[in-house]
Amino acid sequence: MNTSPVRAENLAKHFGRTKALDGCSFSLPEGSVTGLVGPNGAGKSTLLSLIAGLAKPTTGEITVHGTAVRGRMHPDVSLLTQKRPLYDQFTVRELMRAGAAMNDRWSAGRADEVLDLLAGVDKDAKVRTLSAGARTQVAIALTLGRLPKVLLLDEPLSDLDPLARDETLRIVMTDVAERGTTVLLSSHLLTDLGDVCDHLLLLDEGRVQVAGEIEEVLDDHQVVVGPAGLDLETDGVVVDSSHTSRQTTALVRGSGAPEGFQTERPDLEALVMGYLRASRTRRYARQ
């Protein structure tokens, strides 16, 4: 079981007093596409940079295919960082040459394929002149040129228009389908996630709130709706509840429908929204 593509063991990362991550344990199944969600500052980017070996955990350990990650990139892993740092003064062609030079395993063909997709990126253009979408496409080409077995994508869709978003996801998913890549993908765009992800990893305040196969996670939760004023009695855990003058709506984890409430299975968006709202409520309560 130690050969899981990515496995985190009691992982923590502290920046001074701030606990970006605390006590995270999970493992990603081979070939899964996992959506990494959570409110801003939940530790998503920190987690991805720890897996990539860009930062060292304060405590705990990450293993990639059974090998511990210590301060450098595992050859099987590829990371698309949120800020898309690229050598701005290079042309796209030069940047791809740089990718080839910096990697032991590199497929120029794969990188070119990615660049030629969609409208195609002009390979003689300076990187700094590219649009946000083309820049992301170039960054993805660099990421996939490494022929990763584990692909980490930090907000791959954030600065793209809906069409480019759809097409970018298609580039990534084609790679996953062809090569069986394991993907961990952070995003705020829940509808997009729902289309491509089969697993969910929900972080809040540096801790794992939910981890597992999306269908199972959804089965394990229910949205209950009942008249206002009625007590919410359940064996499960009330993740989040909201009240209007007429009715009470709640997201409940675990079984046991409370009496007098209508229950239904949540969709991914409702589930994640419930957790995000609960997180915000907790933070306000502390202030």
């Binding site: 940079s49 990539a52 990371l79 740092p85 690229l86 050598y87 290079f90 910096m102 990697n103």
Partner: protein, 323 residues
């Protein structure tokens, strides 16, 4: 990896090479024009002998025309290392951290050590070559003027000493690694540039002040107490003063030099006799002879090279701990 750093540093290289080309052409033109002037004023032989041997308006006029120009050229050789430190060393890592592109390199297969080593070498080598070439070209100009030019101030005068031998290379290595370390530590190009400029000047002044104590000086003794023990401007005088009859250094000879009242009938003071009467037996000078200049260059250079090694280790540490 070499190609990547070369491509990244290309604007810097172009600036360096263009700057060097302009400077070399300027120096060679000045050198040719000065050579012609030497011939025209019939001073070619004087260049070897010095101003004292060639008293006359021609030599003085020649110096008025050329001396300061050559000194300015020497000053540019002194400035070259800190320019390299500020404009090549300081941005080397700081700019990557500012723009986040270090993460691009760190997310590929290349190790951080190899990334650092390649950046260090590929950026440093051309800078060092530029400094050395410029140093040699400027000195080829100064050699033409010989003792009529700044070289007459002696091997140890700071503009001459600091621009000769291994010194410019040592200063450049120091400035470059200082800039690199400051950039790796503070991750801000402007901060690193400012620190490099400030620290370079401070360390150069401090080391320049104490470097003469790196060599045990040779003591020159003169029996003539009225004349200094060293006459010419060649050796570096570390200390000088008077010895008593037993050969001990007299700490404060000032009271024993009070000979104003010893004037004879004509009002002439026999200073030497008066000094001897007061107990000043000999004059001495502790000097570093001219032929030890190379040793001093190497000793001072090794201090700066040692600091450079520390800065390299510091940079490695700073980059490795970087997220």
């Amino acid at each position: 990896m070499t190609w990547i750093v070369w491509r990244q540093q290309r604007p810097v290289f172009i600036t360096l090479v263009a700057g060097l080309a302009v400077a070399v052409v300027a120096v060679l033109v000045l050198r040719a024009s000065m050579s012609a002037d030497l011939v025209a004023r019939n001073l070619v032989d004087c260049a070897a002998k010095g101003l004292e041997a060639c008293m006359g308006p021609a030599a003085t006029e020649f110096q008025t025309a050329w001396f300061d120009k050559m000194h300015i050229a020497l000053a540019t050789v002194l400035a070259a290392p800190v320019l390299i430190g500020v404009f090549v060393g300081a941005p080397l890592f700081a700019r990557e951290f500012e723009q986040g592109t270090h993460a691009l390199a760190f997310t590929q297969s290349v190790s951080r050590t190899r990334w650092m080593a390649t950046k260090f070498l590929v950026a440093a080598l051309p800078a060092l070559v530029v400094v050395v070439v410029y140093q040699l070209v400027v000195h080829s100009w100064l050699d033409v003027a010989g003792q009529l030019g700044p070289l007459s101030t002696g091997e140890f005068y700071f503009t001459v000493f600091d621009s000769r031998g291994v010194s410019p290379v040592a200063y450049t290595l120091f400035a470059y690694t200082l800039g690199m370390f400051a950039g790796a530590l503070f991750k801000r190009t402007l901060v690193a540039m400012t620190l490099t400029l400030g620290l370079f000047v401070v360390v150069r002044v401090v080391v320049g002040g104490v470097r003469e104590s790196l060599i045990t000086p040779t003591r020159l003794i003169s029996g003539d107490v009225a004349e200094p023990a060293v006459a010419d401007r060649g050796p570096l005088v570390v200390r000088s003063g008077y010895l008593d009859a037993k050969g001990n250094v007299i700490a404060d000879p000032a009271p024993m030099m009070n000979c104003g009242s010893k004037a004879d009938a004509q009002g002439v003071v026999d200073t030497a006799a008066c000094y001897r009467e007061n107990g000043l037996a000999q004059r001495y000078a502790d000097v570093i002879p001219t032929d030890q200049a190379t040793t001093l260059h190497l000793l001072e250079g090794s201090i700066f090279a040692g600091l450079a090694v520390l800065f390299v280790l510091g940079s490695v540490w700073a980059v490795r701990r970087q997220v």
